[in-house]
């Protein structure tokens, strides 16, 4: 079997008495969408933070293409190829859509410490930014200040920024949160598009989307992975039914 793109081994994280991750291990293979589901407070966001290096794990290790990320902070993990989106859209409100994507694109090109030439002066960067905006359905919104975007547009702008990083792995934290059925549908097809670029660890509450998109699903409850398998295996897993899915499915 080929080496996983991302692998977490026995990650632990406590906040006082709260166990946010309890011996969490999971793998993400190339071409795969691996969904992470679980009730609120299960530790999904914490796990993404541990993978992305924003939160230090108490113990355990993360590997990217077989390389340990031990001791690397969020900046270096992003450079290594981990791109993530946040549960609450994380963009730069004062910048335009175009500038937001450019920031990401130039960061990926390691051209941020350039002080004199105008950011908007490089034609090929501008074209790249426009392409990314087009891909997430924000064509023509280049000059709009991000603060003025609708909730759904912000979600898509963040995805464009993440896409512009050309990462090795996507970590997406509830990209459909707070969107109506229409918005959810749009993001769903967008995620289908993103999977062509890199494998994805997807935290999502929308079960229709999860079962439609995911190749593999892990279920997190109280910081523990209680089940992991294909969508069909998860559907018929009695522990999952009991702990989480209830009778919805």
């Amino acid at each position: 079997m080929t080496e996983p793109v991302l692998e977490a081994r026995a990650l632990n994280k406590r906040f006082g008495a709260v166990v946010a991750s309890d011996q969490v291990s999971l793998v993400l293979h190339s071409g795969e969408i691996h969904a992470l589901i679980g009730p609120n407070g299960a530790g999904k966001s914490t796990l993404l933070k541990q993978l992305a290096g924003e939160t230090a794990s108490d113990s355990g290790e993360v590997f990217l293409s077989g390389q340990s990320l031990q001791g690397l902070d969020a900046v270096h993990r992003a450079k290594a190829g981990i791109a993530r989106s946040f549960q609450i859209s994380s963009i730069i409100p004062a910048l335009t859509c175009e500038q937001n994507v450019l920031l990401s694109f130039e960061a990926r090109e390691r051209r941020i410490f350039r002080f004199f030439r105008p950011a908007l002066g490089n034609l090929s960067s501008l074209e790249a930014a426009s392409d990314y905006l087009l891909r997430v359905g924000l064509a023509g919104r280049e000059g709009v200040i991000a603060a003025e975007l609708s909730h759904g547009e912000r979600r898509r702008l963040e995805l464009a920024m993440v896409l512009a990083l050309k990462p090795a792995v996507f970590l997406l934290d509830e990209p459909m949160a707070g969107l109506g059925p229409e918005g959810t549908g749009e993001i769903r097809s967008l995620l289908q598009d993103l999977r062509k670029e890199a494998p994805m660890l997807l935290v999502e509450h929308d079960m229709d989307a999860v079962f439609a998109l995911a190749d593999r699903i892990s279920v997190l409850v109280y910081g523990k992975v209680i089940a992991s398998g294909t969508p069909n295996e998860i559907k018929s897993n009695s522990a999952v039914q009991e702990a989480y899915l209830g009778d919805d499915i």
Binding site: A74, V75, A94, P118
Partner: protein, 322 residues
């Protein structure tokens, strides 16, 4: 874009016109005031890069203003007295050399303070920057060789090739050239790729880190640049007054620079200059009417913070835009 440029140009034209009127009507004091505006505006422009564009609320920029001032004062006094400072070298009375030393000294100081303070944020950052500036202030007060509490007189202005710097208008032109250069440089930086990262640090450092750019490195770079600009303004201030004293290092000075940035317009290019104009105007005009002019200044600051986001220039830009 174009509108705010017009406002910027108008501010500079107003400043030049005021100085020229001083020359025409033989009112040298007006030239002095215009020079002071240019210098304080430049100090504010330095702070504005950190505070306005990058969200680094430094309450210790007097450290840079004052250090620049003391570098100019100390080098000039040694040159005047032919008294060696170091390895037989007895200072200099050339502005260009003094600026180089002021840039080096304030750059290093900003690097040091930045390394020690930029991992913190919010109130902690405000307090640490304040503490550093106060340390320098007390150091200057208690260092007798350079005048201690009484300050240091430099007698003459330092020289600039081809100019009689003792002539008010000539010295004003030097300060104006610096101011315009600093504003030009600021606008280049703000609009550069690095400028995008500066604004990202202010608004969302976690996102920036997630893009693989270290917010700390961006902050440190901005802080050093900001300190150097304010430091040069301090060196010019010593030349304006031909005198430097610990007051340029005190927290009042930090507060003054911050107030003129806020009143003039945080994160607007010419905001600090407009703020300096208003500040000097109030000091001169209200200060002549009442001893309590600073009360009115405080009230104005409060009104700006509460109602006029973006200060004078921000309001003008919005007003012209609508």
């Amino acid at each position: 874009m174009l509108r705010s440029n017009l406002v910027n140009i108008a501010v500079i034209v107003l400043l030049v016109a005021y100085a020229v009127s001083g020359e025409m009507f033989d009112a040298p004091y007006n030239i002095t005031l215009a020079t002071k505006v240019a210098i304080l505006g430049m100090a504010g422009a330095g702070l504005n890069l950190a505070l306005g564009y990058c969200g680094l609320i430094s309450f210790g920029h007097a450290a840079f203003f004052g250090l620049g001032g003391y570098v100019a004062g100390i080098l000039a006094v040694h040159a005047f007295n032919h008294q060696p400072i170091f390895l037989g070298w007895s200072g200099t009375n050339q502005m260009i050399a003094i600026w180089v030393f002021a840039l080096l000294a304030t750059g290093l100081l900003a690097l040091l303070i930045g390394l020690l303070s930029l991992r913190t944020s919010g109130v902690y950052f405000i307090m640490i920057t304040l503490a550093f500036a106060q340390m320098l202030y007390y150091f200057a007060i208690s260092w007798p060789s350079y005048g201690g509490e009484d300050g240091l007189s430099t007698y003459l202005r330092n020289g600039f090739p081809g100019l009689n710097t003792m002539d008010g208008m000539s010295f004003f032109m030097v300060c104006l050239a610096w101011l315009v250069f600093v504003l030009w440089l600021s606008s280049r930086i703000i609009n550069s790729r690095f400028g995008l990262a500066m604004q990202a640090v202010r608004e969302n450092p976690v996102r920036l880190a997630g893009l693989g750019v270290s917010p700390f490195r961006v902050k440190l770079t901005v802080f050093v640049l900001s300190g150097m600009i304010t430091g040069i303004a301090g060196a010019l201030y010593t030349d304006l007054n031909r005198f430097v004293s610990p007051s340029v290092l005190s927290w009042h000075m930090s507060g003054e620079i911050m107030i003129l940035v806020i009143i003039g317009g945080v994160a607007t290019l010419s905001g600090p200059v407009a703020g300096a104009m208003l500040f000097i105007f109030l000091e001169q005009w209200l200060g002549g009417l009442t001893e309590f002019w600073q009360f009115w200044l405080g009230l104005m600051l409060l009104l700006v913070v509460l109602f006029a986001r973006g200060g004078i220039i921000g309001t003008l830009n919005r007003w012209r835009a609508s």
